[in-house]
Structure formats: C-alpha cells, structure tokens
C-alpha cells in the first residue's frame, strides 16, 4: 500500500528525518511511536504530500510519487490527514465535514447522506448547524475525523490525534478510531508519543527516535524485546543494569555487575558489554527467602513506595537499584514499609539482554 524508501528531510541545517524505510500493508494500522520532536509529524506530512522530502522516495500502491503537482494531487485525493490540533473552517459543522466531498464535486442528497452518516459515526448528530469554531477540543477532533473519513480515503494519516485531549476525550477518540478501522478497510498510519496508545491500536509499530526508525515489529515484541537502550528507555523498561557476560552455558549467561550476578537467556558471547533489562512487573517480592524456580534472587532495602491507582511501585537498593511493580493489595498484605529488607526475584527468561 505505502512504501517509503531512504527518506531524508532537513529544515535548513537541522536534519529531521534520516534514512527512513517503511512499509505499510493494505488494511494495516501502523503506528510510529517516539518522543516529542522525533520527526513523527514531519514523516506524516511527507507521506501526506504536504511537503517534499529532501531526498528519498514514496510509493503508493507500487507507484512512485513523482514531482508533478497533478500527480501529487491525484494521490493526495486518495488519502486524508487529521492533525494534532485540527483547524476548522469558519463555517458550520456540516460544511466542515462536507468540504472534502464538495471539492470532489459531490452534492445533493448523496453528499447530505454521507455527511450525516459521518457525523453519526463520530457521535455528533444534531451538531450540523453549529459553528465549528465554538466546539471543544474533543468535539473538534471528532469533526476532523468525520471530515477525513467521509471521503473514504484509502490511507488515513493520524498525527497524534489525542495529544491535546483530556483522558475521557482521548478514550472516546481511541474507540472511534478502532471502530472506523474495523468497519472500513482503511489503512492507517498514525503517530503517537503515548506508547500504551500505540499498543492498544497498532498492528505493527515503528519506534522513531531522533529522526530514525530504530525498530519495527508488533507491539508486544517492541515492549518486551527492545533492541537498544534508547528504545528500552522509551518503552518504559525501568530496570536496565549494565554489566558484562562472565559465563555462558547452554544459552544461559551470567551477567556480572558491581557485586551481583544476573542470570539471563542470551546467545551473546563471554566478554560482551550488555544491559540486562527487567520490566518492573516481572519482579516478585517476598518477606523471606522461599524456594522458587526463579534464577535471580536478591536481598535489598526498600527506598520508596509510590502508590498509583491499583498498583504500587517499590524502589529498592539491592547493591544496585531495582524497581518492582506489584498490586497495592499485595503491598498492604505484606505490610511493606520504607526501610524494610525484602527478597526480590525474577526469572532468567524475564531478563532481556541488549548489547551495549
């Protein structure tokens, strides 16, 4: 459906995108995630043909998009884009949603039906005569979605569609997007800085940091098996312990750190400098040293306990810092307090090893 090859883009001396290669299949939801300023918006603007790349090519259904304005317009008519902070025309909600159809020379009853349908889908029936500029942020975003989907684009581009919204509007828009994707055969390329949103919506994800796609894969893969320290940090791997592989036997390695050894699964060789990544939810806490199949058990002192929602984040000092995520209920039943000594355990399979 969409293929991007060796795409580079600069504004003056600032290089925004470096050597981007990307492919999106028909019917797929591809999400680029990355921190603010990583080039996500620029990538979407290039794919949306709002700007021309400094170098590189974009293919749409196998055809390279060339430089002629006519060809670009022809391709642009098959896509639609919703931006982070959509602008609405100084007109009614109806006229805003009808815009894309009118410039495609549609009118009369079919235009009316399509617009009303789109408004119903986004839950804005009855709003058609409202001045679009008096709407709230969430409503404006819904008008923008309706305006884009009413033209039935083959490729829908969504640039951080919930970045400026409150949590309720965010979940509403997310549900809408899921709905729209399910009901139509639209292909979606979306960007977000919210990794959980990416996880909820994406079939495949690409991590865009510093203008480069560092890893692509399905969401589970990216979250559990980040390929580098930058990605691991971005996807929220809180425990990243630096060390060196001291021994390797049958796929199990000993990673030697300052005063501790962590066992992990890895095919890296002895002497490699690595990070052992352990997601906080993989760590089990116990008051006493009990027999367990977990290969890694450390004794440490609780430095801090932070409660949020139903969870408790327990920060420990085991000779190295370690963070565990457990339920609030467990923390209460175990009567965990700052200063307590505690055993933290995790399995060798719960450790993801990244080369330094």
């Amino acid at each position: 459906m969409l293929k991007v090859e060796r795409l580079h883009h600069s504004y003056g001396k600032a290089q925004i995108l470096k050597n981007i290669d990307l492919g999106v299949e028909r019917g797929e939801v591809f999400v680029t995630i990355g921190p603010t300023g990583s080039g996500k918006t620029t990538l979407l603007r290039l794919v949306g043909l709002l700007e021309r790349p400094t170098s590189g090519s974009i293919y749409f259904e196998g055809h390279m998009v060339d430089n002629s304005e006519r060809h670009r317009l022809e391709i642009r008519r098959r896509l639609a884009m919703v931006s982070q902070k959509p602008a609405v025309f100084n007109a009614s909600v109806f006229d805003n949603v009808a815009y894309g159809l009118r410039i495609r020379k549609e009118n009369g009853a079919s235009l009316r039906d399509k617009v009303m349908n789109a408004l119903e889908t986004v839950g804005l029936s009855g709003y058609e005569r409202r001045d679009a500029r008096t709407l709230s942020g969430g409503e404006t975003q819904r008008v923008a979605l309706a305006r884009a989907m009413v033209i039935k684009p083959e490729l829908l581009l969504l640039d951080e569609p919930t970045a400026n919204l409150d949590p309720v509007s965010t979940s509403h828009i997310e549900n809408l997007i899921t709905d729209i994707i399910r009901k139509s055969d639209m292909t979606v390329l979306m960007s977000t800085h919210d990794m959980f949103q990416g996880q909820r919506l994406a079939h495949r994800m690409g991590v865009l940091i510093g203008g480069e796609i560092l890893q692509t894969g399905d969401p589970r893969e990216i979250f559990s098996l980040p390929q580098s320290k930058k990605i691991a940090e971005f996807v929220g791997v809180e425990n990243m312990l630096g060390g060196v592989i001291a021994a390797s036997k049958e796929g199990i390695v000993d990673i030697k750190m300052d005063g501790a050894v962590v066992e992990a699964i890895s095919n890296l060789g002895v002497g490699e400098q690595v990070y052992a990544c352990i997601r906080p939810e993989e760590i089990t806490l116990a008051r006493a040293k009990e027999p367990t199949s977990a290969r890694n058990i450390f004794n440490g002192e609780i430095i801090r306990i932070v409660l949020f929602g139903p969870l408790a984040r327990v920060e420990m000092d085991c000779g190295f810092p370690l963070v565990a995520l457990i339920t609030k209920r467990s923390a209460e039943e175990m009567n965990l307090q700052t200063g307590n000594r505690i055993y933290a355990s995790f399995k060798a399979t719960g450790v993801h090893v990244i080369k330094k």
């Binding site: 304005e69 317009l73 931006s83 025309f89 894309g100 001045d131 008096t134 709230s136």
Partner: protein, 241 residues
C-alpha cells in the same frame, strides 16, 4: 450667520423634494464609484492572492511599495491618467478623455493599491493551517486558495469597502480627467467644489450632506463586518469545555 442657516434649510429642501440636479449627480457618482470599486475588487483581490501565496524575490519590497501607494495623491494619479489618455498620450487613441469611463479607470488605479494591500493583510490573518487542511483533504492549489479567501471573507470585504470610500470621496482626479461636465462627468465632489466657488452654498451643502451620508453608510457597514469578524474570533478563543 443668517445666510448659512438659510442655505441649510434650502439644502434639506433640495434633498427631500427630490431635486433632479442633486439626484442626477448622486446617481452618476454611485455609478462611477461602484463600477471602479467592483473592477478593482475583481482585479486586485486576485492580485493580492497571487502576491500572498507565491514566494519571490522582492516580495516584501513590493508589499511596502503597495502600502505606500495607499496615500497616493489623487491629483498625481489624475496627472498620470491625463498624460496617458490625452490626445497626444500613449492611450490617446481611445479618445475617452473627459468621459465617465476614464474616471473609472483613474479610480481603479487609485483604489487598486488599497484593495491589493488590504487583501494581502486579510489573507495573512488566516492561519496557514486552514490551507494545509484544505490541501490534506484533497484540494487543488486553486481550491485551497479559495478556502483561505473564504475564511478571510469579512476582512476582504472591508478592504473593498475602504476602496469604495476612497473612490467616492476623491475630487482631484475626477476634476482633472472628468472635466466636471454637467450632466455627464459631474460628480458629488466636483459639483461641491464648483458650486461653492460660484456661491451656490445651498446646493453645495445638500451635495455635501449626501456625500457624508454615503460615506457614513459605508463606514457603518464596514465596521459591522469587522465586528462580526471580531465576535467570531472572540468566540473561537473562548475557553472550551
């Protein structure tokens, strides 16, 4: 003092009894000014778009030049048009000197910079996101420009009205290229100037009242449009729930 009061009463009489001279001059004035304003709008709003939406060397300089021309002296424009259209001038072959047509041409030249310049300001008041939105929804270049123009409609209309105000109130050009021919090229301003010189103060006053009334109507309408726009803006800036 007595004499001014008499003239004042006579002036009102002329207006309210439907004096043929007064209304003939008024009708001709409107005809000429409205023609020149419409032609200016058709020529110079697109020119404003062309300048605003294209990037070229000397764009800033050109805009400054256009703005300088807002206050072009009417007698100077009159002189240029006179030189161009007089028998010996380059456009003398048209033989339209001292006709309403040449007055319209002169007023178009006079009003052109105002309409162009204010149209550019009007367009630059529209967020660039509007044009991008139009483009991202599949608009062609022309359609996207139209979307921005539509967004700036109140400010563009104001630009045209300001142009009309200048066209209807100028006297130097109308006198020089129109010739103030009774029943043909005599307009409100030239008539006032002539009648005052002749001592016909009552007629001058009557024409003056009408001129002021017309100018007032234009200003009020322009302000109304401006207020509508401001109210819109205020509304769009209001905190959203």
């Amino acid at each position: 003092m007595h004499y001014i009061a008499d003239a004042f009463v006579l002036a009102l009489k002329l207006i309210f009894t439907g004096d043929a001279e007064v209304y003939g001059i008024t009708a001709r004035t409107l005809e000429i000014s409205i023609s020149s304003t419409l032609i200016s709008a058709l020529l110079f709003v697109p020119l404003g778009c062309l300048i605003y939406f294209n990037n070229f060397r000397g764009k800033k300089g050109l805009i400054s030049f256009i703005q300088t021309c807002y206050s072009l002296p009417t007698v100077f424009v009159g002189l240029l048009v006179f030189l161009a259209f007089s028998r010996a001038g380059p456009l003398g072959v048209f033989g339209i000197m001292f006709t309403p047509q040449v007055m319209v041409i002169g007023q178009v030249v006079l009003v052109g910079p105002i309409v162009t310049g204010l149209a550019i300001s009007a367009l630059s008041g529209v967020s660039p996101a509007i044009r991008e939105t139009a483009i991202s929804l599949g608009a062609s270049r022309f359609q996207s420009v139209w979307a921005v123009l539509k967004e700036a409609r109140f400010a563009v209309l104001t630009a045209v009205m300001v142009g009309f105000g200048r066209a209807i109130s100028e006297v130097g050009l109308a006198l020089m290229v129109g010739g103030n021919i009774r029943g043909y090229t005599r307009v409100l301003t030239t008539a006032i100037s002539l009648e005052t010189g002749k001592g016909e103060v009552a007629l001058s006053l009557a024409l003056g009242f009408i001129l002021v009334a017309l100018a007032l109507i234009v200003t009020v309408l322009a302000n109304r449009f401006l207020r509508v726009k401001e109210a819109d803006v205020a509304q769009s800036r209001a905190p959203t729930s």
